[in-house]
């Protein structure tokens, strides 16, 4: 028998999750309520079954959430019997650790980095599991499964540890930590096919629904939650559209796509025909050609 590609990817991710539990003192799984972190948490449940996941889920909460994602988060965490730790960007703002961006494109996405690093320090987490995939963005194509960060949380692309065979080196000095990416080798299609195969429940945002939307330079942004700062002239242009989200994160930088895909089969078919990358709907990556590389160096996921 030869393995299907999903069997291979699942086994590899489980292997990496178990290595993380074994090699670190206090890991945490970064959980955003987005589909990649949901799949990762699902795999963690499989990896340690019938025991509970031996580390908490960590949500860095910008406060600018879709309510559906928050409801989902709390139900899902209960369902898989995991512990949840929440780091609040609002707290970082209140404490003067970060300054809120102003203007129509204001987003708390960039502020998350500080909150994440503060939360890591507060809880002494020495490894954070992320749902990042190498197919998402060109700077991520060179990311390791075990990604070393210095004591300032920074990523140095020229000084990464080589990874060979299935040997992952998590040795570190005090104060340093790791980001671990079990889904490195997955593509968006793999994630969707796996969700369909495993029948993993998802937030309703991923499926087609009616929503008030503002079209800003071709990006379809939410105009319902009130988190996107609307210009006066935009307020008149809010439209009711049939959309779904391809990624779910902070409301201010998550773009919707026009879609009637209401089931997982519809979505898989839609992803197969898509002509834009899923990050193409994200405002944060569009800031410059190397936006992701720059944010990663500073300690972004």
């Amino acid at each position: 028998m030869s393995l299907t590609h999903l069997q291979y990817l699942e086994s590899e991710a489980i292997y990496v999750l178990r290595e993380t539990a074994a090699q670190f003192q206090k890991p945490a799984l970064l959980f955003s309520g987005g589909k990649d972190s949901i799949v990762m948490a699902w795999l963690a449940r499989k990896a340690f079954y019938p025991a509970r996941i031996p580390f908490p889920l960590l949500h860095v909460d910008t406060g600018h959430n879709f309510p559906e994602a928050m409801t989902y988060r709390d139900e899902f965490v209960k369902e898989i019997r995991a512990n949840l730790v929440v780091g609040l960007v609002q707290k970082s703002i209140d404490e003067g650790r970060v300054v809120e961006e102003k203007g129509p494109n204001a987003s708390r996405n960039k502020l998350q980095t500080v909150t994440l690093l503060d939360t890591i320090e507060e809880h002494q987490f020495d490894a954070c599991l992320g749902g990042g995939r190498r197919d998402e963005e060109k700077a991520r194509a060179k990311e390791r499964f075990f990604s070393h960060r210095d004591e300032f949380g920074q990523w140095d692309p020229k000084n990464q540890r080589p990874e060979l065979w299935n040997i992952f080196n998590g040795r570190k000095h005090f104060g340093e930590h790791f980001r671990v990416f079990p889904l490195s080798n997955w593509t968006e299609m793999d994630v969707w096919q796996y969700i369909r195969q495993e029948k993993i429940p998802l937030p309703s945002l991923y499926f087609s629904h009616q929503r008030k939307i503002i079209n800003r330079h071709g990006q379809l942004l939410d105009a319902e939650t009130g988190f996107v700062n609307l210009l006066e002239e935009e307020k008149a242009k809010i439209e009711e559209m049939t959309i779904r989200f391809r990624t779910v994160g902070d409301v201010t930088c998550t773009g919707a796509v026009l879609s009637t895909a209401a089931t997982l089969d519809d979505i898989v078919a839609e992803v197969a025909a898509a002509r834009q990358t899923e990050r193409g709907t994200r405002a944060d990556d569009r800031r410059s050609e190397t936006a992701m590389e720059d944010r990663k160096k500073e300690g972004y996921f």
Binding site: L3, A51, E163, E293
Partner: protein
């Protein structure tokens, strides 16, 4: 666009690419992705814009793969990058590695997880020193399938004689390699797309498969052929719940062979025998394991087993050793010296190791073995003898890529400084003869 694979039938192929600077490697990968419709409009638009800004004549497909700022500025690839694409038949993972001499270590890294290697040759240059080095490394890392991609055929008028003569040169040299590989030569032009995805109209003298046809159909094994069953323990699952009060499962991923419920197994290093009573997954219990899949295994007896231990079968035991010879590739700017001490990481086990001696170094230009060396610099390859503080349970790399491989880690910096492939073990009466026969 992401092709919709049939999730029940599609398999996975991991391959690596090697070529000298300017052999058109990034262009070839760009072409594969582009022709397989794995490039999205926004990616292509970004590349078109960058090409224009740089003043490139064509849309520079190489920019699709060169991700880091320094690479885009200098037009070179400086690290292993992983790319993904799929056809309805297979999902592919490409380890894209740069070809410069100083980046031997990246090639070794990319090759360690690859089932197949594409070695690029510029049809105008023919087989060059770099080509020989790439073939040597593919053999060293035990990649069994090599595609000889004779590129830039458009620049030699698609001449069959040029192709034939390059193939003959390469085959002659490949005969001398210690580890034989299956070689598939394909003439192509990555720039124009000849024989990459679609068959070339300009080379009717070539009747073989296009590169993609070959990649889609070539057979690779995933450890099924192994007689030796190996299960390195990663983690012990103890739920400590009322429902699973006495549950004690050994979590791991099958390195090779298979295990069945009822099989007798030996646990190393304890050396004790027990019987498998259960093979569990979240999706249910199994009667038998499959290679490369992850499980939790329960045994009949309470033996002290923890992370770093190994389950194997009595009829095909591993080598238990504290002394071994290994081929290594040195990764660090800090030189390796005789008597140097390192952590050795092998499967899920970590032990301390000291370099007893350098057996020989390989001259990367002539591929000759050079004796009487005492140190290794970055990108050096050769054979060393190691003494370990506690035993590991291993096989020769030539028979098992997982239980035959290790990395060395610097005690001060914690950096991974070398990749190692076990060639022979040196202690124990039963080891010496059989082990001595292992070629590199």
């Amino acid at each position: 666009m992401d092709v919709q694979l049939n999730p029940e039938e599609s398999s996975l192929l991991r391959f690596t690419t090697a070529g000298s600077v300017d052999d058109g490697k990034s262009t070839l990968i760009g072409r594969l992705l582009y022709d397989c419709k794995s490039i999205f409009e926004d990616q292509l638009a970004a590349v078109e814009e960058s090409s224009k800004r740089r003043g490139d004549e064509h849309v520079n497909l190489a920019l699709l793969t060169d991700g880091l700022r320094a690479e885009r500025e200098q037009g070179i690839t400086i690290d292993v990058a992983y790319r993904y694409f799929a056809t309805p038949k297979r999902k592919f993972i490409i380890a894209d590695t740069p070809g410069h001499v100083q980046y031997t270590r990246n090639m070794v890294t990319g090759a360690s997880t690859a089932d197949l290697a594409i070695i690029l040759i510029d049809a105008r240059q023919g087989v060059v020193e770099q080509t020989r080095r790439h073939a040597f490394l593919a053999g060293l890392l035990r990649i069994q399938q090599v595609v000889l991609a004779v590129n830039k055929m458009d620049l030699v008028d698609y001449d069959q004689k040029v192709f034939d003569s390059i193939c003959a040169d390469f085959m002659k040299f490949a005969e001398d390699l210690e580890n034989p590989v299956a070689i598939t030569p394909i003439p192509m032009s990555a720039l124009n797309g000849d024989n990459v995805v679609d068959a070339s109209e300009k080379m009717d003298w070539y009747s073989g498969p296009t590169l993609l046809e070959h990649l889609e159909t070539v057979k690779v094994h995933l450890g099924e052929a192994h007689v030796e069953s190996r299960y390195p323990v990663q983690w012990v699952i103890r739920p400590m719940s009322d429902e699973h009060h006495d549950y004690r499962g050994y979590a791991g991923r099958v390195a090779s062979g298979s295990f069945k419920v009822g099989d007798k197994v030996i646990a190393y290093p304890a050396g004790l025998t027990s019987t498998i009573t259960g093979i569990h997954t979240f999706n249910g219990d199994c009667e038998e394991t499959e290679p490369a899949l992850s499980y939790s295994i329960e045994l009949a007896d309470e033996i002290d087993i923890s992370r770093g231990d190994l389950l194997a079968k009595p009829e095909n035991p591993p080598h238990v050793t504290q002394n071994l010879d290994a081929m290594i590739c040195w990764f660090s700017e800090k030189k390796m010296k005789t008597r140097g001490r390192y952590y050795l990481r092998h499967t899920t086990r970590e032990v301390r190791a000291v370099v007893q001696e350098v057996v020989y170094k390989v001259d990367i230009t002539t591929l000759d073995k050079v004796a009487e060396q005492t140190e290794f610099s970055m990108n050096d390859i050769g054979c060393i003898r190691l003494r370990l503080a506690t035993p590991i349970f291993c096989d020769a790399y030539s028979v098992n890529r997982i239980t035959g491989s290790f990395v060395l880690v610097d005690e001060q910096t914690n950096n991974t400084v070398a990749a190692g492939m076990i060639t022979r073990t040196l202690d124990g009466a039963d080891d010496s003869d059989a082990a001595g026969a292992y070629a590199i």
